[in-house]
Point group: C2
Chain length 341, copies 2
């Protein structure tokens, strides 16, 4: 991918609509436990991978939670699955709707298919063809609209009115946040958190804040001492700025190769970061690319750029992690196969 | 990679010297069991991955044994490790030597480093810089030579004479073959071979025949009925021709993107294929590339082209595998990160 391509692709995110939702109560630890039970029959238990050479390079112990191996290729399936199976039979019959041309759209489509119910995904014109194909392959009905936020919201409202479908927002929906928290919960069980040598720190990427919000809930549910970090591209530093200014900063135009992290942090998500003392670590674009290459070469797994931010943050802020035991959530692996293969 | 690049890279293999070795007794099932015990403290137990969508595509159950996650990035570490830890203390003090600029060279270097003994790797001029760097990083002494087979053998003999190092051939050494067999042994345990639903078929790539030789020993040790297949590029069909003609065909110039499979089958390896009724399935270059893309997209793992041949073979010979439960050994993941990342 050359720079021009990257930049052209850096329009404000499609997967992170800043739509006005009624304020919801944030989920808590019990909601995550309930989500884990609810999604267990459907979601994969993803592996935790390690690499001696990456440990040596980072100067700490790295435990990679591989959500790139999750169904539909990203952690998003957890939240979508929890939302879908939280619905009453009456709600389920009407279906779900979202607007997303990214991983959330595909995840919601797949979760809805599992339950045998309709899914509607509003997709702006110009969205990536391969992602649309995935959403369609999972059986969702696509609703094209103009590539503006107002057009997307209008189309979403129209579909809701016409079908009665339940809106499942990609990261502000409490059911979604609780579902995303199950990745950290699973990681803690896998690494034996209760035993000596449990995790000292947890780090997850931040876009809209669903994954890190759920992760922080779980981390605090387990330990008051564990450090919880969000890795954010410096080119999309809305969460960093929001925490610094103590208010939601929503006017940053994101410019980053990490397409999954171009979203603007939600209000409920920001509140979770503040409550649970999450610190945001910024990473530069070249650091994301270098970390992606390292994970490819050393772990032999396919990840999308968003996932690489967590390793990039550990390598950049090496002193913060020295000799610690660090859990890193690799968020997804949906990236087009490069032309070499 | 464009066609010109591929072709330029298709010189006769570096990792498969056709050197004259004294005939050795082939290893048997007990040798593989002993190897498993010997390498257990050093080698990874690699995961078995599955994909519903690939199962649906292939029309059978696919169980992927992921040797791309093995130490040094390929199954080669198993054989090298078994050879290294089979040596007496006296032999170990003198070190090991091989000529290979590929995965075997790196694997032998790493295994020797584990045991704290010297490794010498004869590498022809013009070998891939990144692979040489890996061999060097594992602490081996590199011995450059001219890129001809006679120069390589001469240099190997010189190093042996000078150092007393033990030669560890990449695929004809019985210790190496026994070590490679541990991948299939591990797979059988992981999938519960003794239970209903054990494997109906096993397939591994074939280059020189170390991996498939060891795999066939294990398969026959478990079951007389299991079908055992070797996947071979049509552009490097020496094993296929050797079985067909009932004699070792060593004059084929390999032309394939699967750089790990350009070796010519060894005599001991051919005998193992004949004894254990291994059938060779040929695959075309475009089928290898398509399978590689599928594994990338669906399993989210990094594999080298050689690994993709097994899925390519199942997809090409779909009728042979319909509704069967098939174990596929993904041999390695050492491929340069493409420029997209």
């Amino acid at each position: 991918m050359n720079t021009a391509d990257t930049m052209r692709d850096c329009l404000p995110t499609l997967d992170a609509p800043d739509i006005g939702l009624p304020a919801s109560a944030p989920p808590d630890y019990r909601d995550v436990l309930a989500a884990a039970t609810r999604i267990a029959p459907h979601a994969h238990v993803t592996p935790v991978l390690r690499s001696r050479s990456l440990d040596a390079l980072a100067g700490c112990e790295l435990l990679f939670k591989c959500e790139n191996f999750q169904r539909a290729g990203a952690f998003k399936f957890r939240g979508a699955c929890n939302a879908v199976w939280s619905l009453s039979a009456t709600e389920a019959a009407r279906g779900v709707v979202t607007h997303s041309s990214g991983n959330h759209g595909a995840a919601l489509a797949l979760a809805a298919r599992d339950r045998g119910m309709p899914a509607h995904v509003v997709v702006p014109e110009g969205a990536v063809a391969s992602k649309l194909a995935a959403i369609k392959a999972y059986g969702a009905t696509l609703h094209p609209c103009a590539p503006t936020m107002s057009a997307r919201e209008a189309e979403c409202t129209r579909v809701q009115a016409e079908t009665g479908a339940v809106l499942v927002h990609p990261f502000t929906d409490p059911r979604v946040i609780a579902g995303q928290g199950t990745a950290a919960l699973e990681l803690f069980h896998q690494v034996g958190l209760q035993e000596p040598g449990g995790l000292d720190a947890l780090i997850a990427p931040i876009g809209g804040g669903g994954l890190i919000g759920g992760s922080a809930i779980v981390a605090r549910g387990h330990s008051l001492d564990m450090q919880v970090f969000a890795a954010e591209p410096a080119g999309a530093a809305d969460a960093f700025e929001s925490l610094r200014q103590g208010r939601r900063v929503a006017d940053i135009v994101p410019v980053t190769i990490a397409d999954g992290l171009r979203g603007t942090i939600g209000a409920i998500n920001l509140a979770l970061l503040q409550t649970h003392r999450v610190e945001v670590l910024l990473v530069e674009e070249e650091e994301i690319l270098a970390a992606m290459r390292l994970i490819w070469e050393r772990l032999k797994i396919v990840i999308e750029p968003s996932s690489a931010t967590v390793l990039a943050a550990v390598l950049r802020h090496r002193d913060r992690f020295a000799n610690r035991r660090v859990g890193l959530i690799l968020s997804g692996g949906n990236i087009a196969a490069p032309s070499i293969i």
